[in-house]
Symmetry: C2
Subunit: 465 residues, 2 copies
């Protein structure tokens, strides 16, 4: 299809497949104050956006990955099989230097697990053990529950914790303020003699939906089992407690660590035509938690960043610098992939690092961390994303996986805005599946990433001189 015969807009079904979303294919109006260097990028940006939105390829690939391999916890055969599949597919896409760089990763195994109320009357609870937790032993454990609302509350009632299951019932007000109960709750409780820790799931109420996630043991505290309850079960324990009834819970978890297992960071590139040693890095993580199929966290980010290179290749848009996609391993419970990448690649010249790990929603823009001059350039490039509504550049770009190389080498970092409400509803739950995102949303996410990555990789000068 030539440009002359191209339709003026692309419309497709979104959401519940009953609403049409249309995006103009006309190039954005030339702003009076746009710098001359931007002009040559209007056409390729338009091409990239149109190509990303021409079909649902990225969504279908995301579905194929998550359908075929399912959850991909570090150390699992599923993760390694998914990586082997992705490497083969990358080569088919024409990416260069496709390689699996070995990384040893922790292998935590959930095993069977359950929790139930024993008093006031036996009844099952919906729970997920926290990643990294020890198990209860085959006999399980049973104890009266101490309900607390905060770490301060626990300290006030420390004398009551001995021999109890401490339950942190902290309402979800955002990930930052509540995730520390998941990370640190067990050791905080164990220091006061608790035999196990329960938390209210770190997320908004779903449909009896528990959220897992990593926890850590402090060195100065006994290791006690830790699990998350659904918000409804958390409410239930709170109400039983508030009625003055004695509350006894039984917990059984087979959770254990096995020996570290081999995994890998998967890397693919489009080598730069002029400055191949200058790298624009696009990152995501290949591992997921085990209850869902990790479509949003973070298979979607991997498919999207990888799709940037696929589209650039398909359109024959070889940029001046190298575009490199890295599917990092073991973000969820170890960050071994990000650390190994830093150690192996710190000697290379990274111009920019982008991470997509907040769900493949249509971004309203990007967060950016880096020098002001680079921010101004990124803001100018973002004007090309106005047709997608993705032209806002906010503070704080980055991501867990790119974090080590970004910090080690002061690499500017960019990350697409997410939709925190939708993201944390499914985050680390069984509900993280490809149904959580529509094909058109993934395409718009890819389009925004593609324009940003391609233009930075092709700029006449470095993003940070």
């Amino acid at each position: 299809m030539t440009l002359g015969s191209r339709p003026s807009a692309v419309c497709r079904l979104v959401g519940s497949m009953t609403a049409l979303a249309c995006v103009s294919l006309a190039p954005p109006a030339h702003s009076a104050d746009a710098p001359p260097w931007l002009e040559p990028y209007r056409a390729p940006a338009q091409q990239l956006i149109a190509a990303a939105r021409a079909d649902d390829f990225a969504w279908r690939r995301l579905a194929e990955l998550t359908d075929t391999f399912g959850p991909r916890l570090s150390g699992s055969p599923a993760l390694e099989a998914a990586l082997a599949w992705a490497a083969t597919e990358m080569k088919k896409d024409g990416l260069e230097n496709v390689r699996l760089e070995p990384v040893m990763v922790p292998r935590w195994v959930r095993g069977r697990e359950s929790a139930e109320i024993v008093q006031p009357f036996p009844s099952p609870l919906v729970m997920l053990g926290l990643g990294g937790s020890v198990g209860t032993g085959p006999q399980g454990l049973e104890a009266e529950v101490l309900v607390v609302g905060s770490f301060d509350d626990l300290e006030t009632r420390a004398a009551e914790a001995k021999g109890r299951i401490v339950f942190f019932n902290v309402p979800f007000t955002g990930y930052g303020p509540t995730v520390r109960y998941r990370s640190d709750g067990a050791s905080r409780a164990a220091r006061h003699g608790a035999v196990a820790a329960l938390i209210r799931s770190v997320g908004p109420m779903g449909l009896r939906t528990p959220h897992t996630g990593a926890m850590n043991y402090a060195e100065d505290a006994p290791k006690i089992p830790a699990a998350a309850l659904s918000a409804e079960d958390a409410n239930r324990l709170q109400r039983i407690h508030d009625r003055g009834q004695r509350l006894v819970v039984r917990l059984q978890m087979e959770a254990r660590h096995e020996a570290d297992a081999p995994s890998a960071n998967l890397i693919g590139e489009i080598r730069g035509r002029e400055k191949p040693d200058e790298i624009v890095l696009l990152g995501c993580h290949s591992d997921s938690w085990d209850p869902g199929t990790g479509a949003l966290d973070d298979a979607g980010g991997c498919i999207a960043t990888w799709d940037v290179l696929r589209l650039v290749k398909k359109l024959g848009l070889q940029p001046r610098r190298t575009l490199r996609v890295v599917l990092f391993t073991n973000e969820e419970n170890g960050l071994r992939g990000g650390l190994a990448y830093r150690d192996a690649h710190a000697g290379e010249d990274h111009v920019l690092a982008i991470e997509s790990d907040g769900g493949v929603f249509p971004p309203t823009g990007f967060g950016f961390s880096g020098p002001d001059l680079a921010r101004a350039t990124v803001e100018t490039i973002a004007t090309l994303l106005a047709p997608l509504g993705a032209d806002k550049i906010g503070p704080r770009g980055g991501g867990a996986d790119i974090g080590p190389i970004v910090r080690a080498k002061q690499v500017p970092a960019l990350s697409p805005d997410g939709d925190a409400g939708r993201y944390f509803l499914m985050h680390h739950t069984p509900a993280d599946t490809v149904e959580r995102v529509e094909p058109d949303e993934v395409s718009r996410h890819v389009a925004a990433l593609a324009v940003m990555a391609y233009v930075v990789a092709d700029l006449p000068g470095r993003l940070v001189p």
Copy 2:
């Protein structure tokens, strides 16, 4: 508080606790064409509505019941403990003739269960065995999956079913058109040699939320295990199938029937002051499925119908006829309570039967089945519910539990309208908990039931002369 000092409206927080809902306490304007017999009921109707909405007693009692005893499957100790508790509480409320009428009920036990994809790659599925299903034996079973979209589709492909797991992937278009795959799917598949049946859950997509429910075996087909998958897992199997990949699933279910167990219908009354032998029956069912705590299906209906009698008693409004609440047992998988009630009470004079088993949402009115003259009376009474927005009388009232007595004795039947969208999202799932309904909603449900039941019980003449 005297009427003179009463505020003109009651407002309280609803929904996410951020919105105010206000209902006028002023008596409805007297309609020019309202019959004279209605006038004496304006004041008690107003009293009942105000009393129901004065506090969150009904919601708190619903929470206490479902929190304390949890799921109440027929034959379980939890159901019997809940009934004993309810009988004691009813007596405390001042209800008369509180009694447990013994009923033997089936006892189906789920046991442990799981399903997983074996090919194209091992991965767990989210499932719930169907109530009444046989188990798989301790070794489980593993077979290639035949995906069909309807019973007709199965018949067309009958030759492929032998030795397979037949998966009925029928989109939820409403309970009526899809529940037959849950009821009959296993025997339909077994007739063609299938080794197990899977269905797409009968309900809209939740958050990887499976729906259980009763299934039945036909006498002419082998009994094969049957389970429901979450909508997301159903989609996943369909997509794998559509990609042309060989799909093998492994199913393990300990499900079994044990010997029938003793249970009971719980009955409480307010005896009529003039015609105590004429009965207005309010019904609900005490049993629930086992994954959730059965707050909407149907503890809510029980708390609401029971609360009608509590409020009538509390306000000293003894009607001419007897108000009787029956918490029927075993609605979900046997209907033994409804059948036993019919057998024991068919000789009594039932003026009207009301059932609440569609969720304790604020009704927009009632469905009614009965003679036209009675319908006109019910429509007139419903004008008293205009302040609640519950004044519409539609076709088809009734309920599973009251069904046997209604059919045996041609009793007029009434049932509050529900909210099918919200109801079927949580229906027979782990998410059926008290969080699904707000205190103010339960109060409005109670208020509508109370006015309707009280006025019919107190009418000068019978509803059906």
